[in-house]
Amino acid sequence: MTEQNRQVEDLHLQNLTKKFGEHTAVDTLNLTIPAGSFFALLGASGCGKTTTLRMVAGLEDPTEGTISIGDRDITGTRAFERPVNTVFQSYALFPHLDIFENVAFGLRRRKVKDVKPQVERMLELVELGSMARRKPTQLSGGQQQRVAVARALINQPDVLLLDEPLGALDLKLRRQMQIELKRIQTEVGTTFVHVTHDQEEAMTMADTVAVMNSGRIEQLGHPADIYELPRTVFVANFLGQSNLFQGHKTGVSGEDYVVSAHAQNFAVPSARTFTDGDSIIVGVRPEKMTVLDASDAGGIPEHHNRVAGRVTDVSYMGVSTQYLVMTSWDQELTVFEQNVVVGDRSAVGDEVVIHWSPRHTFGLNGAAGTSVGVDPDVLELEAVNQALAADVVEG
């Protein structure tokens, strides 16, 4: 253990591909994960994020491509030879060993002498000092989770892999552990690669997020950058929510494209448009929009984008209010408004105008369709709602 001289190095994945028979789980992935960063691989189940993680851990052999840490190619080495440790989804704590021996396992395998002080220090770090002689089954879920982190971290890996580490915890505990894990990462400075399907978790914890879909990375960057400016429909829908309208480019006005959708013109900054084609999807995040009563529409700044509609639902959520507004072309838009002013909210049935600044508008490739990346359950629910609404109209 040369703690002082230890230099953390970048993790490089080059053309990394994994095929299971005909199915390509990970498709020519090229990625550099900077040393010391907290990196999140975010995606729905089956997107290849866990397979990627398992290849880095050495538990799965890549079909093609290389994995290296700094200049060292570790592709051909086996799991137990890699300077990489994993926090498993179900923790996989050894049930016949106590907490102390679980944490000491890696050190003992590497014939480290006098493991006691190190194990005790690590148990202090995860605040489990008093639990050393308990068996894993005697611990709560959150405690087991921390043992799993301690068992991996004590080996001072070049990269720590976390496979949905908080998935088994309830919401409140998950929040606590998110902060806890971030604190530990800052304290030890190891590169953390965190696989999750929870976009909120990825955004709160990671300093870089890679959104994965069908074995490829859709977009990579700082959470705020990805959220504010999604480059694909998948990212716009998967990371948070978006209102998207299918349209086509009809002209240019200064810095903006003029996009016509549903017989209306929208201004989309050309710098925020990620397609060269004329078919453009206009997108905007729900909290960037403002709802105004139709009679007050005169006060909307001239250059703002606007859509008229009727309020179909108002949900008061404490911090904000969520409005659902039905447009003239039967699309339900979602608007979040912060509850800064008490009272004076629009009510169901009100005719309203929604408006937002072009600065908050983004343009996406129109060929993709607007529903990629939406949770399938949500789509199904929307279909049911629409069918119900149709029944009501007919009745």
């Binding site: 030879e81 498993f88 396992f105 890696g106 068992r151």
Partner: protein, 297 residues
């Protein structure tokens, strides 16, 4: 309605609990009755018989007594058979473990869709009678059989034969009790989450170390159950020794059988049975106690 239901439920528990415990005893009754009639009573009778004394002038007739000396006679006369029984049964148990562990491991972790079929194949020989299968081993190990002649050509057999030697007896015991080793081992191995092995390899354990530190300790309950289920019946067995061995390879089961059926020395046979039981009990308790701690790891 909502207010009525909790009240009704509140008055019930005592009577429900009473009925539940009565049901429990009723369910236990057939088992207890069976054990009483076919285990407890015979055991007492057997113990009484072991202390009987002979009636003068009448062979095969005995009267109640308190002849503790029967036990001393039994040990003095038959200690070689006792020793042999435990040696043969012990060797057969170790052999069975060595054969069964890899097989059970394969079925549990590698067999995939063939798993059920392989388990059926493990049990399949039991569909033929125990006696018949042991007779078959007479043919397999016969002096002019393939195995014996091959080994003889290689000059590997000191006595020039297998049948009627201790090797044949141990082989027969190993074969006959193998399923009792495989099944508990399989049950224990199958329960081991493969992620433990992955976690071990992630924590710098080579495959051999991962086996030694994770798989083996986690399979110990199966090892203990399998060795007991093999050792106990093998130690009391007499068919293998009488069909496959020579008179020099007789085990304690043969001695008990001879005393009961041929010499009609019932006190001696009963004393031998009791000593066998006592020794096995002591061995098993020592073994389980050791296996319960981490001494065996």
């Amino acid at each position: 309605m909502a207010a009525v239901i909790p009240q009704a439920a509140a008055t019930k528990p005592s009577s429900v609990a009473a009925r539940k415990s009565r049901t429990g005893y009723l369910l236990l009754f057939p088992g207890i009755a069976w054990l009483g009639v076919f285990f407890a009573i015979p055991l007492v009778t057997l113990f009484a018989t072991s202390l009987q004394t002979p009636i003068e002038g009448k062979t095969g007739k005995y009267q109640p007594g308190f002849a503790v000396g029967n036990y001393a006679d039994a040990i003095a006369q038959y200690w070689p058979q006792f020793l042999r029984s435990f040696l043969y049964a012990g060797t057969a148990t170790l052999l069975a473990l060595a054969i069964a562990y890899p097989l059970a491991y394969f079925i549990a972790f590698r067999a995939g869709k063939w798993r059920s079929l392989m388990l059926v194949l493990v049990v399949a020989p039991s569909f033929a009678s125990f006696l018949l299968r042991t007779y078959a081993w007479k043919t397999i190990l016969a002096d002019d059989g393939v195995i014996t002649s091959t080994l003889n050509n290689l000059h590997l057999l000191p006595d020039g034969r297998i049948l009627n030697t201790w090797i044949a007896v141990v082989a027969g015991l190993t074969y006959n009790f193998l399923p009792f080793m495989i099944l508990p081992l399989y049950a224990a191995l199958e329960k081991i989450d493969p992620r433990f092995i992955e976690a071990a390899s992630d924590l710098y354990a080579s495959p051999v170390t991962a086996f030694r530190k994770i798989t083996w300790p986690l399979s110990l309950p199966g090892v203990v159950a399998g060795t007991l289920l093999t050792f106990i019946p093998a130690a009391g067995d007499y068919i293998n020794a009488s069909l496959l061995g020579s008179p020099k390879n007789r085990m304690i089961g043969n001695a008990i059988q001879n005393n009961f059926i041929e010499f009609r020395d019932y006190p001696m046979a009963s004393a031998l049975s009791f000593i066998l039981m006592a020794i096995i009990l002591v061995l098993v308790f020592t073994y389980i106690r050791r296996a319960g701690t981490e001494d065996l790891v």
